[in-house]
Amino acid sequence: MKYSSFSPARIWTLASATVTQLVRMKILAFLLVFCVIVVGAGFAFPVMNPEQQLKLLKDVSFGALQIFSIVIAIVATSLLLPRDLEDRTLYTILSKPVPRFEYLLGKLLGVLVLIGVGLILMDIAFSAVLWLRQTMVLAQSIGALKQEGVATPEAVAQLNEFVGKQGLTWNVHFGVLAIFLKASVIAALALMISCFSTSTLFTVVITFCVTIIGHGQSLIREYFLQGHFSNVIEKLLSALLAIVTPDLGVFDVVDNVINGELVSSASIGLMLGTTALYLVGYSVVSHLLFVEKEL
Protein backbone atom coordinates (compact mmCIF):
# COMPACT_ATOMS: atom_id res chain seq x y z
CA MET A 1 0.00 0.00 0.00
CA LYS A 2 1.67 3.16 -1.17
CA TYR A 3 0.97 6.17 0.95
CA SER A 4 0.58 9.56 -0.69
CA SER A 5 0.27 12.76 1.26
CA PHE A 6 -2.45 14.07 -0.99
CA SER A 7 -5.16 11.85 -2.36
CA PRO A 8 -8.17 13.08 -4.33
CA ALA A 9 -9.75 9.66 -3.77
CA ARG A 10 -9.67 10.13 -0.01
CA ILE A 11 -11.11 13.63 -0.35
CA TRP A 12 -13.85 12.27 -2.53
CA THR A 13 -14.59 9.51 0.00
CA LEU A 14 -15.00 12.17 2.69
CA ALA A 15 -17.03 14.39 0.39
CA SER A 16 -19.48 11.69 -0.61
CA ALA A 17 -19.91 10.66 3.02
CA THR A 18 -20.68 14.30 3.76
CA VAL A 19 -23.22 14.49 0.98
CA THR A 20 -25.09 11.41 2.20
CA GLN A 21 -24.82 12.68 5.76
CA LEU A 22 -26.47 15.95 4.75
CA VAL A 23 -29.03 14.30 2.50
CA ARG A 24 -30.08 12.07 5.38
CA MET A 25 -30.61 15.23 7.43
CA LYS A 26 -33.46 15.90 5.03
CA ILE A 27 -31.83 19.09 3.88
CA LEU A 28 -33.13 18.62 0.36
CA ALA A 29 -36.71 19.02 1.56
CA PHE A 30 -35.95 22.57 0.48
CA LEU A 31 -36.22 21.40 -3.09
CA LEU A 32 -39.89 20.57 -2.74
CA VAL A 33 -40.63 23.88 -1.07
CA PHE A 34 -38.78 25.56 -3.90
CA CYS A 35 -40.84 23.84 -6.56
CA VAL A 36 -44.05 24.88 -4.85
CA ILE A 37 -42.83 28.48 -4.71
CA VAL A 38 -41.80 28.50 -8.35
CA VAL A 39 -45.02 27.01 -9.60
CA GLY A 40 -46.95 29.38 -7.35
CA ALA A 41 -45.06 32.38 -8.63
CA GLY A 42 -45.39 31.16 -12.18
CA PHE A 43 -49.14 31.02 -12.15
CA ALA A 44 -50.11 33.70 -9.65
CA PHE A 45 -51.01 37.24 -10.81
CA PRO A 46 -52.21 36.31 -14.28
CA VAL A 47 -53.58 39.81 -14.89
CA MET A 48 -50.30 41.66 -15.10
CA ASN A 49 -48.55 42.41 -18.34
CA PRO A 50 -46.72 39.42 -19.80
CA GLU A 51 -43.19 40.67 -19.33
CA GLN A 52 -43.83 41.50 -15.72
CA GLN A 53 -45.31 38.08 -15.09
CA LEU A 54 -42.12 36.46 -16.36
CA LYS A 55 -39.96 38.87 -14.41
CA LEU A 56 -41.84 38.12 -11.25
CA LEU A 57 -41.46 34.40 -11.83
CA LYS A 58 -37.72 34.87 -12.24
CA ASP A 59 -37.44 37.21 -9.27
CA VAL A 60 -39.19 34.83 -6.95
CA SER A 61 -37.34 31.80 -8.24
CA PHE A 62 -33.93 33.40 -8.07
CA GLY A 63 -34.78 34.77 -4.66
CA ALA A 64 -35.65 31.27 -3.48
CA LEU A 65 -32.47 29.88 -5.09
CA GLN A 66 -30.35 32.44 -3.30
CA ILE A 67 -32.00 31.88 0.04
CA PHE A 68 -31.74 28.11 -0.37
CA SER A 69 -28.09 28.18 -1.28
CA ILE A 70 -27.09 30.63 1.42
CA VAL A 71 -29.03 28.89 4.17
CA ILE A 72 -27.60 25.49 3.21
CA ALA A 73 -24.12 26.91 2.92
CA ILE A 74 -24.31 28.40 6.39
CA VAL A 75 -26.32 25.83 8.32
CA ALA A 76 -25.06 22.62 6.76
CA THR A 77 -21.43 23.67 6.92
CA SER A 78 -21.70 24.88 10.49
CA LEU A 79 -23.14 21.53 11.53
CA LEU A 80 -20.42 19.36 10.02
CA LEU A 81 -17.43 19.75 12.32
CA PRO A 82 -19.33 19.90 15.64
CA ARG A 83 -21.31 16.84 14.62
CA ASP A 84 -18.25 14.76 13.81
CA LEU A 85 -16.65 15.96 17.01
CA GLU A 86 -19.68 15.15 19.13
CA ASP A 87 -20.19 11.77 17.49
CA ARG A 88 -16.46 11.14 17.91
CA THR A 89 -16.30 10.03 14.29
CA LEU A 90 -13.50 12.54 13.95
CA TYR A 91 -11.28 10.33 16.15
CA THR A 92 -11.62 7.32 13.93
CA ILE A 93 -11.27 9.35 10.74
CA LEU A 94 -8.22 11.30 11.81
CA SER A 95 -6.55 8.26 13.34
CA LYS A 96 -6.40 6.91 9.80
CA PRO A 97 -3.65 8.30 7.60
CA VAL A 98 -5.81 11.25 6.58
CA PRO A 99 -4.21 14.70 6.63
CA ARG A 100 -6.43 17.20 8.38
CA PHE A 101 -6.61 19.49 5.37
CA GLU A 102 -7.96 16.59 3.34
CA TYR A 103 -10.67 16.16 5.90
CA LEU A 104 -11.54 19.87 5.64
CA LEU A 105 -11.46 19.83 1.85
CA GLY A 106 -13.64 16.74 1.83
CA LYS A 107 -16.22 18.41 4.02
CA LEU A 108 -16.18 21.60 1.95
CA LEU A 109 -16.41 19.67 -1.29
CA GLY A 110 -19.32 17.68 0.10
CA VAL A 111 -21.27 20.82 0.91
CA LEU A 112 -20.46 22.29 -2.49
CA VAL A 113 -21.58 19.15 -4.28
CA LEU A 114 -24.82 19.18 -2.32
CA ILE A 115 -25.49 22.83 -3.10
CA GLY A 116 -24.46 22.35 -6.71
CA VAL A 117 -26.74 19.38 -7.26
CA GLY A 118 -29.56 21.14 -5.45
CA LEU A 119 -29.12 24.20 -7.64
CA ILE A 120 -29.02 22.14 -10.82
CA LEU A 121 -32.24 20.34 -9.88
CA MET A 122 -33.90 23.62 -9.02
CA ASP A 123 -32.59 25.21 -12.19
CA ILE A 124 -34.18 22.44 -14.21
CA ALA A 125 -37.52 22.79 -12.42
CA PHE A 126 -37.43 26.55 -12.73
CA SER A 127 -36.42 26.48 -16.41
CA ALA A 128 -39.28 24.14 -17.19
CA VAL A 129 -41.82 26.38 -15.48
CA LEU A 130 -40.36 29.49 -17.08
CA TRP A 131 -40.43 27.95 -20.54
CA LEU A 132 -43.98 26.77 -20.08
CA ARG A 133 -45.08 30.13 -18.79
CA GLN A 134 -43.27 31.96 -21.57
CA THR A 135 -44.99 29.89 -24.24
CA MET A 136 -48.35 30.42 -22.61
CA VAL A 137 -47.88 34.14 -22.16
CA LEU A 138 -46.77 34.57 -25.72
CA ALA A 139 -49.69 32.61 -27.13
CA GLN A 140 -52.05 34.60 -24.93
CA SER A 141 -50.66 37.97 -25.97
CA ILE A 142 -50.64 37.13 -29.66
CA GLY A 143 -54.19 35.91 -29.28
CA ALA A 144 -55.14 39.22 -27.70
CA LEU A 145 -53.45 41.13 -30.52
CA LYS A 146 -55.33 39.10 -33.09
CA GLN A 147 -58.61 39.73 -31.36
CA GLU A 148 -57.97 43.44 -31.53
CA GLY A 149 -57.03 42.98 -35.15
CA VAL A 150 -53.59 44.52 -34.70
CA ALA A 151 -51.50 41.36 -35.03
CA THR A 152 -49.19 42.86 -37.63
CA PRO A 153 -45.94 40.95 -38.18
CA GLU A 154 -44.12 43.91 -36.67
CA ALA A 155 -46.20 43.85 -33.50
CA VAL A 156 -45.83 40.10 -33.14
CA ALA A 157 -42.10 40.35 -33.68
CA GLN A 158 -41.82 43.02 -31.03
CA LEU A 159 -43.85 40.96 -28.60
CA ASN A 160 -41.64 37.99 -29.35
CA GLU A 161 -38.61 40.08 -28.63
CA PHE A 162 -39.92 41.48 -25.34
CA VAL A 163 -41.12 38.14 -24.05
CA GLY A 164 -38.06 36.33 -25.37
CA LYS A 165 -35.78 38.69 -23.49
CA GLN A 166 -37.63 37.94 -20.28
CA GLY A 167 -37.95 34.25 -21.07
CA LEU A 168 -35.61 31.30 -20.87
CA THR A 169 -32.09 31.94 -22.18
CA TRP A 170 -28.69 30.44 -21.54
CA ASN A 171 -27.92 33.55 -19.68
CA VAL A 172 -30.33 32.56 -16.94
CA HIS A 173 -28.12 29.60 -16.09
CA PHE A 174 -25.14 31.89 -15.66
CA GLY A 175 -27.19 33.63 -13.01
CA VAL A 176 -27.52 30.28 -11.24
CA LEU A 177 -23.76 29.81 -11.56
CA ALA A 178 -23.20 33.16 -9.86
CA ILE A 179 -25.49 32.07 -7.04
CA PHE A 180 -23.49 28.86 -6.69
CA LEU A 181 -20.22 30.76 -6.52
CA LYS A 182 -21.56 33.02 -3.81
CA ALA A 183 -22.75 30.01 -1.81
CA SER A 184 -19.32 28.39 -2.18
CA VAL A 185 -17.63 31.41 -0.67
CA ILE A 186 -20.11 31.45 2.19
CA ALA A 187 -19.61 27.73 2.82
CA ALA A 188 -15.83 28.17 2.96
CA LEU A 189 -16.37 31.05 5.33
CA ALA A 190 -18.64 28.99 7.58
CA LEU A 191 -16.10 26.17 7.63
CA MET A 192 -13.37 28.60 8.60
CA ILE A 193 -15.45 30.04 11.40
CA SER A 194 -16.44 26.59 12.66
CA CYS A 195 -12.75 25.74 12.95
CA PHE A 196 -12.34 28.07 15.89
CA SER A 197 -15.87 28.39 17.12
CA THR A 198 -16.98 26.38 20.12
CA SER A 199 -20.67 26.06 19.27
CA THR A 200 -22.77 25.54 16.20
CA LEU A 201 -25.02 28.45 17.08
CA PHE A 202 -22.03 30.77 17.31
CA THR A 203 -20.84 29.65 13.87
CA VAL A 204 -24.27 30.14 12.33
CA VAL A 205 -24.76 33.59 13.85
CA ILE A 206 -21.30 34.87 13.00
CA THR A 207 -21.38 33.50 9.46
CA PHE A 208 -24.79 35.02 8.96
CA CYS A 209 -23.53 38.41 10.16
CA VAL A 210 -20.45 38.24 7.95
CA THR A 211 -22.68 37.28 5.03
CA ILE A 212 -24.85 40.34 5.56
CA ILE A 213 -21.86 42.62 5.94
CA GLY A 214 -20.29 40.95 2.92
CA HIS A 215 -23.19 42.09 0.80
CA GLY A 216 -22.62 45.67 1.82
CA GLN A 217 -18.84 45.33 1.79
CA SER A 218 -18.51 47.22 -1.49
CA LEU A 219 -20.17 50.25 0.12
CA ILE A 220 -17.79 50.13 3.06
CA ARG A 221 -14.81 49.50 0.82
CA GLU A 222 -15.60 52.28 -1.56
CA TYR A 223 -16.17 54.72 1.27
CA PHE A 224 -12.83 53.70 2.68
CA LEU A 225 -10.90 53.73 -0.60
CA GLN A 226 -12.35 57.10 -1.55
CA GLY A 227 -11.45 58.49 1.87
CA HIS A 228 -14.97 59.44 2.85
CA PHE A 229 -14.25 58.89 6.52
CA SER A 230 -12.42 61.66 8.31
CA ASN A 231 -12.58 60.14 11.76
CA VAL A 232 -9.62 57.85 12.49
CA ILE A 233 -11.70 55.29 14.36
CA GLU A 234 -14.25 55.18 11.57
CA LYS A 235 -11.43 54.75 9.10
CA LEU A 236 -9.83 51.87 10.98
CA LEU A 237 -13.12 50.17 11.62
CA SER A 238 -14.23 50.38 8.01
CA ALA A 239 -10.84 49.17 6.80
CA LEU A 240 -10.98 46.22 9.16
CA LEU A 241 -14.51 45.32 8.11
CA ALA A 242 -13.62 45.57 4.45
CA ILE A 243 -10.53 43.42 4.99
CA VAL A 244 -12.05 40.59 6.97
CA THR A 245 -15.29 40.25 5.03
CA PRO A 246 -15.58 39.02 1.45
CA ASP A 247 -17.29 41.14 -1.18
CA LEU A 248 -20.33 39.01 -1.81
CA GLY A 249 -21.87 41.77 -3.88
CA VAL A 250 -19.55 40.75 -6.71
CA PHE A 251 -21.81 37.78 -7.32
CA ASP A 252 -25.03 39.77 -7.38
CA VAL A 253 -25.31 39.78 -11.13
CA VAL A 254 -28.62 37.98 -10.90
CA ASP A 255 -30.67 41.17 -10.70
CA ASN A 256 -29.32 42.28 -14.02
CA VAL A 257 -29.36 38.82 -15.53
CA ILE A 258 -33.08 38.76 -14.80
CA ASN A 259 -33.22 42.07 -16.58
CA GLY A 260 -31.67 40.45 -19.65
CA GLU A 261 -28.08 41.69 -19.41
CA LEU A 262 -25.69 39.23 -21.02
CA VAL A 263 -23.01 37.60 -18.90
CA SER A 264 -19.74 37.76 -20.82
CA SER A 265 -17.14 35.05 -20.47
CA ALA A 266 -14.75 37.64 -19.05
CA SER A 267 -17.22 38.34 -16.29
CA ILE A 268 -17.60 34.64 -15.57
CA GLY A 269 -13.83 34.36 -15.47
CA LEU A 270 -13.59 37.21 -13.00
CA MET A 271 -16.24 35.73 -10.75
CA LEU A 272 -14.57 32.32 -10.88
CA GLY A 273 -11.23 33.92 -10.07
CA THR A 274 -12.67 35.82 -7.14
CA THR A 275 -14.29 32.65 -5.84
CA ALA A 276 -11.04 30.73 -6.17
CA LEU A 277 -9.21 33.45 -4.26
CA TYR A 278 -11.66 33.32 -1.38
CA LEU A 279 -11.84 29.52 -1.33
CA VAL A 280 -8.09 29.09 -1.28
CA GLY A 281 -7.61 31.87 1.26
CA TYR A 282 -10.28 30.63 3.63
CA SER A 283 -9.15 27.02 3.26
CA VAL A 284 -5.60 27.98 4.20
CA VAL A 285 -6.86 29.83 7.26
CA SER A 286 -9.16 26.92 8.13
CA HIS A 287 -6.24 24.54 7.88
CA LEU A 288 -4.08 26.66 10.14
CA LEU A 289 -6.89 26.80 12.69
CA PHE A 290 -7.75 23.13 12.42
CA VAL A 291 -4.35 21.50 12.18
CA GLU A 292 -3.65 21.85 15.88
CA LYS A 293 -7.20 21.75 17.09
CA GLU A 294 -7.59 19.69 20.25
CA LEU A 295 -10.02 16.89 19.69
Partner: protein, 263 residues
Protein backbone atom coordinates in the same frame (compact mmCIF):
# COMPACT_ATOMS: atom_id res chain seq x y z
CA UNK B 1 -1.49 29.53 19.59
CA UNK B 2 1.25 30.14 17.07
CA UNK B 3 -0.99 28.70 14.36
CA UNK B 4 -3.83 30.96 15.40
CA UNK B 5 -1.58 33.97 14.95
CA UNK B 6 -0.50 32.68 11.55
CA UNK B 7 -4.14 32.23 10.63
CA UNK B 8 -4.91 35.81 11.63
CA UNK B 9 -1.96 37.09 9.65
CA UNK B 10 -3.03 35.15 6.56
CA UNK B 11 -6.58 36.43 6.92
CA UNK B 12 -5.47 40.04 7.18
CA UNK B 13 -2.96 39.67 4.37
CA UNK B 14 -5.53 38.09 2.11
CA UNK B 15 -7.93 40.85 3.09
CA UNK B 16 -5.54 43.63 2.13
CA UNK B 17 -4.58 41.96 -1.13
CA UNK B 18 -8.16 41.36 -2.11
CA UNK B 19 -9.37 44.96 -1.63
CA UNK B 20 -7.98 46.38 -4.87
CA UNK B 21 -8.88 43.17 -6.69
CA UNK B 22 -12.46 43.34 -5.50
CA UNK B 23 -12.58 46.96 -6.49
CA UNK B 24 -11.46 46.27 -10.06
CA UNK B 25 -13.74 43.25 -10.44
CA UNK B 26 -16.65 45.37 -9.24
CA UNK B 27 -15.77 48.12 -11.67
CA UNK B 28 -15.53 45.65 -14.53
CA UNK B 29 -18.86 44.04 -13.74
CA UNK B 30 -20.47 47.44 -13.38
CA UNK B 31 -19.13 48.48 -16.74
CA UNK B 32 -20.55 45.25 -18.17
CA UNK B 33 -23.87 46.33 -16.62
CA UNK B 34 -23.93 43.13 -14.60
CA UNK B 35 -23.68 44.84 -11.27
CA UNK B 36 -25.96 47.69 -10.30
CA UNK B 37 -24.71 50.92 -8.84
CA UNK B 38 -24.63 50.84 -5.06
CA UNK B 39 -28.11 51.01 -3.70
CA UNK B 40 -29.47 54.44 -2.79
CA UNK B 41 -29.23 54.60 1.01
CA UNK B 42 -32.10 57.06 1.11
CA UNK B 43 -34.44 54.30 0.07
CA UNK B 44 -34.12 52.65 3.45
CA UNK B 45 -36.97 54.56 5.06
CA UNK B 46 -39.32 53.95 2.18
CA UNK B 47 -38.92 50.18 1.93
CA UNK B 48 -38.30 49.32 5.57
CA UNK B 49 -35.25 47.77 7.22
CA UNK B 50 -35.98 44.17 6.30
CA UNK B 51 -36.54 44.83 2.65
CA UNK B 52 -33.53 47.10 2.57
CA UNK B 53 -31.35 44.36 4.02
CA UNK B 54 -32.79 41.87 1.54
CA UNK B 55 -32.18 44.32 -1.30
CA UNK B 56 -28.56 44.60 -0.18
CA UNK B 57 -28.37 40.81 0.05
CA UNK B 58 -28.82 40.26 -3.65
CA UNK B 59 -32.61 40.21 -3.60
CA UNK B 60 -33.02 43.66 -5.05
CA UNK B 61 -34.96 42.43 -8.04
CA UNK B 62 -37.35 40.52 -5.82
CA UNK B 63 -37.96 43.50 -3.56
CA UNK B 64 -38.59 45.62 -6.64
CA UNK B 65 -41.10 43.05 -7.81
CA UNK B 66 -42.85 43.24 -4.47
CA UNK B 67 -43.10 47.04 -4.49
CA UNK B 68 -44.30 46.74 -8.06
CA UNK B 69 -47.06 44.40 -6.92
CA UNK B 70 -48.00 46.88 -4.23
CA UNK B 71 -48.16 49.63 -6.82
CA UNK B 72 -50.32 47.37 -8.92
CA UNK B 73 -52.66 46.91 -5.98
CA UNK B 74 -52.74 50.67 -5.42
CA UNK B 75 -53.66 51.13 -9.04
CA UNK B 76 -56.55 48.71 -8.66
CA UNK B 77 -57.71 50.82 -5.72
CA UNK B 78 -57.23 54.03 -7.73
CA UNK B 79 -54.79 55.57 -5.26
CA UNK B 80 -52.69 57.61 -7.65
CA UNK B 81 -50.33 59.20 -5.15
CA UNK B 82 -49.52 55.76 -3.79
CA UNK B 83 -49.00 54.35 -7.27
CA UNK B 84 -46.57 57.15 -7.95
CA UNK B 85 -44.57 56.76 -4.75
CA UNK B 86 -44.41 52.96 -4.98
CA UNK B 87 -43.23 53.15 -8.56
CA UNK B 88 -40.65 55.68 -7.44
CA UNK B 89 -39.23 53.10 -5.04
CA UNK B 90 -39.44 50.38 -7.64
CA UNK B 91 -37.55 52.38 -10.23
CA UNK B 92 -34.96 53.44 -7.70
CA UNK B 93 -34.36 49.80 -6.80
CA UNK B 94 -33.95 48.77 -10.42
CA UNK B 95 -33.36 51.86 -12.50
CA UNK B 96 -32.03 49.79 -15.35
CA UNK B 97 -35.24 47.86 -15.90
CA UNK B 98 -37.07 49.91 -18.54
CA UNK B 99 -40.44 48.30 -18.02
CA UNK B 100 -40.79 49.95 -14.62
CA UNK B 101 -40.22 53.44 -16.03
CA UNK B 102 -42.53 52.72 -18.93
CA UNK B 103 -45.33 51.51 -16.73
CA UNK B 104 -44.87 54.20 -14.11
CA UNK B 105 -45.19 56.94 -16.72
CA UNK B 106 -48.10 55.19 -18.40
CA UNK B 107 -49.98 55.11 -15.10
CA UNK B 108 -49.36 58.81 -14.56
CA UNK B 109 -49.76 60.25 -18.04
CA UNK B 110 -52.66 58.11 -19.15
CA UNK B 111 -54.50 56.42 -16.29
CA UNK B 112 -54.16 59.02 -13.57
CA UNK B 113 -54.51 62.00 -15.91
CA UNK B 114 -57.69 60.63 -17.51
CA UNK B 115 -59.11 59.52 -14.21
CA UNK B 116 -58.85 63.09 -12.92
CA UNK B 117 -60.12 64.56 -16.14
CA UNK B 118 -63.34 62.59 -15.92
CA UNK B 119 -63.80 62.85 -12.17
CA UNK B 120 -67.15 64.58 -11.71
CA UNK B 121 -66.44 65.31 -8.04
CA UNK B 122 -63.71 67.78 -8.87
CA UNK B 123 -64.16 71.35 -10.08
CA UNK B 124 -63.70 71.47 -13.87
CA UNK B 125 -60.88 74.03 -13.57
CA UNK B 126 -59.01 71.87 -11.11
CA UNK B 127 -59.58 68.79 -13.25
CA UNK B 128 -57.78 70.37 -16.15
CA UNK B 129 -54.91 71.34 -13.92
CA UNK B 130 -54.61 67.79 -12.54
CA UNK B 131 -54.81 66.39 -16.02
CA UNK B 132 -51.91 68.50 -17.18
CA UNK B 133 -49.93 67.88 -14.00
CA UNK B 134 -50.14 64.12 -14.24
CA UNK B 135 -49.18 64.14 -17.90
CA UNK B 136 -46.17 66.21 -16.95
CA UNK B 137 -45.39 63.71 -14.19
CA UNK B 138 -45.41 60.92 -16.77
CA UNK B 139 -42.99 62.90 -18.92
CA UNK B 140 -40.73 63.57 -15.94
CA UNK B 141 -40.63 59.89 -15.06
CA UNK B 142 -39.57 58.96 -18.59
CA UNK B 143 -36.92 61.65 -18.66
CA UNK B 144 -35.52 60.37 -15.39
CA UNK B 145 -35.53 56.84 -16.75
CA UNK B 146 -33.71 58.03 -19.86
CA UNK B 147 -30.93 59.36 -17.68
CA UNK B 148 -30.25 55.74 -16.68
CA UNK B 149 -31.06 54.23 -20.06
CA UNK B 150 -30.27 56.87 -22.68
CA UNK B 151 -30.34 54.23 -25.40
CA UNK B 152 -33.62 52.62 -24.61
CA UNK B 153 -35.87 52.68 -27.66
CA UNK B 154 -38.91 51.70 -25.68
CA UNK B 155 -38.70 54.66 -23.32
CA UNK B 156 -38.13 57.09 -26.18
CA UNK B 157 -41.11 55.61 -27.94
CA UNK B 158 -43.27 55.99 -24.84
CA UNK B 159 -42.17 59.61 -24.54
CA UNK B 160 -42.92 60.22 -28.19
CA UNK B 161 -46.39 58.80 -27.77
CA UNK B 162 -47.12 61.01 -24.76
CA UNK B 163 -46.03 64.10 -26.69
CA UNK B 164 -48.10 62.97 -29.61
CA UNK B 165 -51.29 61.81 -27.95
CA UNK B 166 -51.42 63.64 -24.63
CA UNK B 167 -49.53 66.89 -25.04
CA UNK B 168 -50.02 67.33 -28.78
CA UNK B 169 -46.53 68.65 -29.27
CA UNK B 170 -45.58 67.15 -32.66
CA UNK B 171 -42.13 68.73 -32.69
CA UNK B 172 -41.07 67.03 -29.47
CA UNK B 173 -42.79 63.80 -30.47
CA UNK B 174 -40.84 63.84 -33.74
CA UNK B 175 -37.57 64.35 -31.90
CA UNK B 176 -38.32 61.39 -29.67
CA UNK B 177 -39.24 59.21 -32.64
CA UNK B 178 -35.94 60.16 -34.23
CA UNK B 179 -34.19 58.88 -31.09
CA UNK B 180 -36.07 55.61 -31.43
CA UNK B 181 -34.91 55.43 -35.03
CA UNK B 182 -31.34 56.24 -34.07
CA UNK B 183 -31.34 53.32 -31.60
CA UNK B 184 -33.47 50.71 -33.31
CA UNK B 185 -32.60 51.51 -36.96
CA UNK B 186 -36.20 50.71 -37.69
CA UNK B 187 -37.28 53.01 -40.54
CA UNK B 188 -40.80 52.94 -39.33
CA UNK B 189 -39.84 55.44 -36.62
CA UNK B 190 -38.23 57.81 -39.09
CA UNK B 191 -41.55 57.80 -40.87
CA UNK B 192 -43.37 58.49 -37.62
CA UNK B 193 -41.03 61.41 -37.01
CA UNK B 194 -41.84 62.62 -40.49
CA UNK B 195 -45.57 62.52 -39.82
CA UNK B 196 -45.07 64.45 -36.60
CA UNK B 197 -42.91 67.14 -38.21
CA UNK B 198 -45.53 67.48 -40.91
CA UNK B 199 -48.10 68.36 -38.28
CA UNK B 200 -46.11 71.35 -36.96
CA UNK B 201 -46.67 74.87 -38.20
CA UNK B 202 -43.02 75.57 -38.89
CA UNK B 203 -42.02 75.41 -42.60
CA UNK B 204 -38.49 74.50 -41.65
CA UNK B 205 -39.78 71.41 -39.89
CA UNK B 206 -41.95 70.64 -42.89
CA UNK B 207 -38.77 70.47 -44.86
CA UNK B 208 -37.37 67.98 -42.34
CA UNK B 209 -40.56 65.98 -42.56
CA UNK B 210 -40.36 65.98 -46.32
CA UNK B 211 -36.77 64.75 -46.28
CA UNK B 212 -37.63 61.96 -43.85
CA UNK B 213 -40.64 60.83 -45.81
CA UNK B 214 -38.87 61.02 -49.13
CA UNK B 215 -36.13 58.80 -47.69
CA UNK B 216 -38.80 56.36 -46.70
CA UNK B 217 -40.30 56.64 -50.14
CA UNK B 218 -37.01 55.83 -51.82
CA UNK B 219 -36.60 52.86 -49.50
CA UNK B 220 -39.73 51.51 -51.12
CA UNK B 221 -41.97 52.29 -48.18
CA UNK B 222 -44.90 53.48 -50.20
CA UNK B 223 -47.89 52.96 -48.00
CA UNK B 224 -50.84 55.18 -48.98
CA UNK B 225 -50.31 57.30 -45.87
CA UNK B 226 -46.70 58.03 -46.84
CA UNK B 227 -47.62 59.04 -50.34
CA UNK B 228 -50.48 61.15 -49.15
CA UNK B 229 -48.33 62.93 -46.61
CA UNK B 230 -45.60 63.56 -49.17
CA UNK B 231 -48.06 65.03 -51.61
CA UNK B 232 -49.42 67.16 -48.84
CA UNK B 233 -45.98 68.45 -47.96
CA UNK B 234 -45.07 69.08 -51.57
CA UNK B 235 -48.10 71.30 -51.74
CA UNK B 236 -47.27 73.07 -48.51
CA UNK B 237 -43.67 73.57 -49.53
CA UNK B 238 -44.82 74.65 -53.01
CA UNK B 239 -42.26 72.45 -54.73
CA UNK B 240 -41.93 72.68 -58.51
CA UNK B 241 -43.76 69.89 -60.29
CA UNK B 242 -40.64 68.19 -61.62
CA UNK B 243 -39.27 67.66 -58.15
CA UNK B 244 -42.42 66.00 -56.96
CA UNK B 245 -42.93 62.24 -56.63
CA UNK B 246 -44.31 60.46 -59.69
CA UNK B 247 -47.61 59.68 -57.96
CA UNK B 248 -48.26 63.39 -57.61
CA UNK B 249 -47.32 64.15 -61.16
CA UNK B 250 -49.56 61.40 -62.44
CA UNK B 251 -52.39 62.68 -60.30
CA UNK B 252 -51.91 66.18 -61.68
CA UNK B 253 -51.56 65.04 -65.26
CA UNK B 254 -54.60 62.76 -65.20
CA UNK B 255 -56.96 63.92 -62.41
CA UNK B 256 -59.37 61.12 -63.16
CA UNK B 257 -56.61 58.49 -62.62
CA UNK B 258 -56.57 55.50 -60.35
CA UNK B 259 -54.95 57.35 -57.47
CA UNK B 260 -57.09 59.43 -55.19
CA UNK B 261 -56.28 63.13 -55.54
CA UNK B 262 -54.90 64.88 -52.51
CA UNK B 263 -56.68 67.46 -50.33
Amino acid sequence: MKRHLQALVVLLLLGSVKLPLEESVTQHLRAAKLLSKPIDLGIRESVGQMSFAAALGGLRSLIASITYLRAYRAWENIEWAKVDSLFQITTRLQPRYQNYWDEASWHMAYNAASSYLYNEDIEPMVRGKFYADYIQRGIDILNEGLRFLPDDARLWNALAEIYDRRVHDPKKAAECYLEVHRISHNDRYARFAGYQYAQTSDPELWQKAYTLLKTAYYKKQRQPSVIEQIKNLEDKLKLPLMQRIPEKRQALEQPQGMIRPTQ
